[in-house]
Amino acid sequence: MMTQTIVIDPVTRVEGHAKITIHLDDSGQVKDARFHVTEFRGFERFCEGRPLWEMPGLTSRICGICPVSHLLASAKAGDAILAVGIPPAAEKLRRLMNLAQMLQSHALSFFHLSAPDLLLGMESDPAKRNIFALIAAEPELVRSGIRLRQFGQEIIEQLGGKKIHPSWAVPGGVRSALSGAGRDSILARIPEAQATVLHALDRFKRLLSHVKGEAQVFGNFTSLFLGLVGANGNWEHYGGHIRIADGAGNIIADHLDPSQYREFIGEAVEPWSYLKFPYYRPLGYPDGMYRVGPLARLNICTRMGTPLAGSELREFREQGNGAVNSSFYYHYARLIEMLASVEGIERLLDDPDLRSRSESEEEPLLRAHAGINQLSGVGVSEAPRGTLFHEYHVDENGLVKSVNLIIATGQNNLAMNRTIAQIARHYVRSPRITEGMLNRVEAGIRAFDPCLSCSTHAGGMMSLHVILLDSAGRVLDERRRG
């Protein structure tokens, strides 16, 4: 076996790319596909030696795409180390921010990144299958999508302020409440946000019968699904416990304590990627492959917990048998989660616990104060892309000794490789990479909406680099895009 030297380029935002290799067997059939992450960021080491209280501010700066997700998981890990229950207003405000984050992230994923594929057709010329062409064809749809994203951003800013939001959530609670004016301004925009999501859902559902072919091969396989559910099994994004369901929709593990994740999640490593490969321990590696994110959350939950999203969930489940297995339906799941987020935001704003401060009223209790009561803590929340774990170990004074992060894209790593292999198997007809295949591989990856900016320097900007290899590892073809 020959030794390979991997040269790690100073990969940056500007140069970040998703390198994919497709491996053929002796008969020229697709055997395997790999999504490579050839760079490691070393963020964990940067945190070592810092006081615990700085961690939310530090970790939320890992990623410009989902700072709120890291902020909340980090604050929750801090809560665990302080061993406190946080004030109810603080928990609800954190929930509000997480829903806003979910909404704005999904809105971008759907309206900007996926809608051109879906609404303009996968066969259309890639030069004409983008957001610009979509604006020309459906200007109002795109404008409303941008407004929806702004709505989510505005909530985040109302809560955290433009300047401090990277450290708004802190171990023990949050730093400030929602102002009365802020609440009113959010409430006023709910009807439009809801109409935008309902319209997009309607458009998507009318497309469903036309995209059955894609759905059949876009990562359509059984796997486990993992995520948080609420105490009653409802869709959850912030608290609750971990539930795992299989590809037939059977709950195979429930009421798992997220802080004990090491008992049920293993992390495998492969020489060709710096991103780890989490798997469900009882089934081993790689059989313990599981998916996280919108599709998983909809597959594991008993109910959505809100009326409109609830009836959409029932309709969604008709796409599967027990569980919806095609990764293509991540898009569909994202739309339903947007609806649940809008409904959830509206409900939270009416919650008396959240009673906003006004000039005359005193602020609600927002922060529990405590010292170091545990030497380690795990914080788990649902990021737009899936379950996010932060585990910290501290010394008796609260200086961080070690950090472990498990990110959504890592957990979807195995399923993404499997999806690419399945798509390639269906579309690779010759030892060449065709335009049609490249389109599908790109769209297949996009279903997962991967983000690597927390584990690499590539700040979310990814271009595509696909390499086709024969059984001896010789390069047959190579294509770049983006």
């Binding site: 940067f46 983008n130 795109v142 941008i146 990814m462």
Partner: protein
């Protein structure tokens, strides 16, 4: 006259944030009609303020093994977009502005060569020097636009 300066990058990543340092420095000049935005990355919602500007100057870090410390180039409309990312580049953001608002202002990209993106590091001395040059270029661009604005009245 209405100029928008957008500097972007990650402030925890050394030279990656040089664009933000520059946008902050321009902001301190306090020039009337000049608006500065310091952001982690380019986002589609910037299209609104871009559309209302008469000139946009993007300032970014450039990681390349060689090249000029400071490059100034016009931003052309993009013909394609990055397929997988949640962030934009100046060209596609400008195109998005054009597509949504039906017009776009002239735009320049100033890219400053970056040398060190280590966690928590400050700007490297070389990039700091280049930042000074970039500021001079920006002053020139703003000055030219102002003159053009006056003569156009």
């Amino acid at each position: 006259m209405n100029v928008l300066v957008i500097g972007y990058g990650n402030e925890l990543r050394g030279d990656d944030a040089v664009g933000r340092h520059i946008a902050d420095a321009v902001s301190e000049w306090g020039l009337p009609g000049v608006r500065c935005l310091s952001a982690r990355q380019l986002l589609p919602e910037f299209t609104g303020i871009i559309a209302s500007a008469e000139l946009v100057i993007f300032v970014d870090a450039r990681f390349s093994p060689d090249g000029e410390p400071v490059l100034l180039e016009p931003v052309e409309l993009a013909t394609s977009v990055h397929a997988l990312g949640h962030t934009g580049d100046p060209a596609s953001l400008l195109s998005l502005t054009q597509a949504i608002h039906g017009h776009h202002p002239p735009a320049w990209l100033i890219s400053v060569r970056a040398h060190d993106a280590g966690m928590g590091n400050p700007l490297s001395p070389k990039t700091s020097m280049a930042a000074e040059e970039a500021l001079a270029r920006i002053a020139g661009l703003i000055g030219m636009t102002r003159k053009a604005g006056v003569s156009g009245l």
